[in-house]
Symmetry: C2
Subunit: 187 residues, 2 copies
DNA sequence: GGACCCATGTAAAGGGTTACATGATTTC
DNA sequence: GAAATCATGTAACCCTTTACATGGGTCC
């Protein structure tokens, strides 16, 4: 049982779903491809943490609906009693920043402008998602309270990072331009 | 050449270092164990991106100092021209939040209080680190500009997340307590 | 005496991505 | 006609962690 497995259990405790649906719901908070999720669900079914049922569809491909078992619920409760391990972030831009000084202003600006667009899209996505949530999800006790606070977290982080890119871009724009030539200009 | 390799190259472009030192410097921004870094450095030496030299020490174990080659510098420049891929974060607390509603207030509070301490420590670490940096590192063109803006980014994110935990903890504390018993109390 | 820091490495196992494989329906 | 969405699965490869292995010096 790895962390992602518990995440899938957590989503299934809320409502029975297909692997495809779980993938879409977990994506904004934990990147995982279908090729990782489908085998995990199978293994969890073998371990009696889940039950599976095929549901026929006419317009779309048939789907396999998973539901959590009492044993799965028990494991979830046990997991919730343990402290959460520390978050891990991997960001290529961070490593590129280490050697910003070897590059020119325009290359640097291109990197941060692209990232700025990414954060802007994140802000938009989470603002919309939060806006659509009913008021009862803002209360502890609601089944959607967790999702609500997670979206607020993601929005806050995206805004903070967006401000950071703006700040960096401004510094880059105001930086002294490099010497055009090593020789002094005569006229 | 994976992303971590470029990160190590980026640090080595700044100054020649041992694998152990690279590990310590990259840790705050990209989690990687020594068991991953040492073999990577060896492979990069084979590929002529780095040169290695043993330096004898009397009080401490001997160390292997790596330096970037012109070929390594060329690869770094090429990498800087490519857009940075999107950041990936994996946070167990996020998955636990999905099923907050199956648990009680105290369990939830314990999770967020622990995380709050983590963010507080991060804020302290990055504040100190920024405070110690010389003023010239605040300018694009300085070799430490990248490190300076990264620490500002990390500080901003940690503060945003700290505020978030405080907000969640307050909501939890103010939440209606659960019924003590399913039977009405007589007196 | 035990724990921690310095310093390097290998091996095994687990986590995650990319590619391969299929196929109907809908949208541009 | 091409691309995207829905839907599931396997196989190969790469990335990352944990564990094994060594050994001197310092601090409590």
């Amino acid at each position: 049982m790895n962390t992602l497995s518990y995440g899938l259990l957590a989503l299934l405790a809320r409502k029975r779903s297909s692997g495809y649906d779980l993938m879409l719901r977990i994506q904004p908070f934990w990147q995982a491809k279908h090729s990782q999720i489908y085998p995990l669900l199978s293994r969890m079914e073998e371990q009696q943490l889940l039950t599976a049922e095929w549901v026929k569809q006419t317009d779309k491909p048939d789907k396999k609906i998973y539901a959590i078992t009492p044993l799965g619920e028990q494991r979830l409760h046990e997991w919730m009693q343990m402290p959460a391990s520390e978050p891990v972030t991997r960001d290529e831009l961070v490593l590129k920043a280490f050697c910003l000084w070897i590059t020119d202003k325009d290359t640097a600006l291109a990197l941060f402008r692209k990232r700025s667009i990414f954060y802007q899209e994140q802000i938009h996505y989470f603002e919309q998602a939060i806006h659509k949530m009913p008021d009862e999800s803002h209360q502890f006790g609601s089944q959607d309270f967790g999702l609500y606070i997670l979206r607020q977290k993601a929005l806050g982080t995206a805004r903070s990072n967006m401000e950071w890119t703006t700040w960096v871009i401004d510094m880059l724009k105001n930086a002294a331009p490099p010497e055009v030539s090593s020789e002094p200009q005569h006229h």
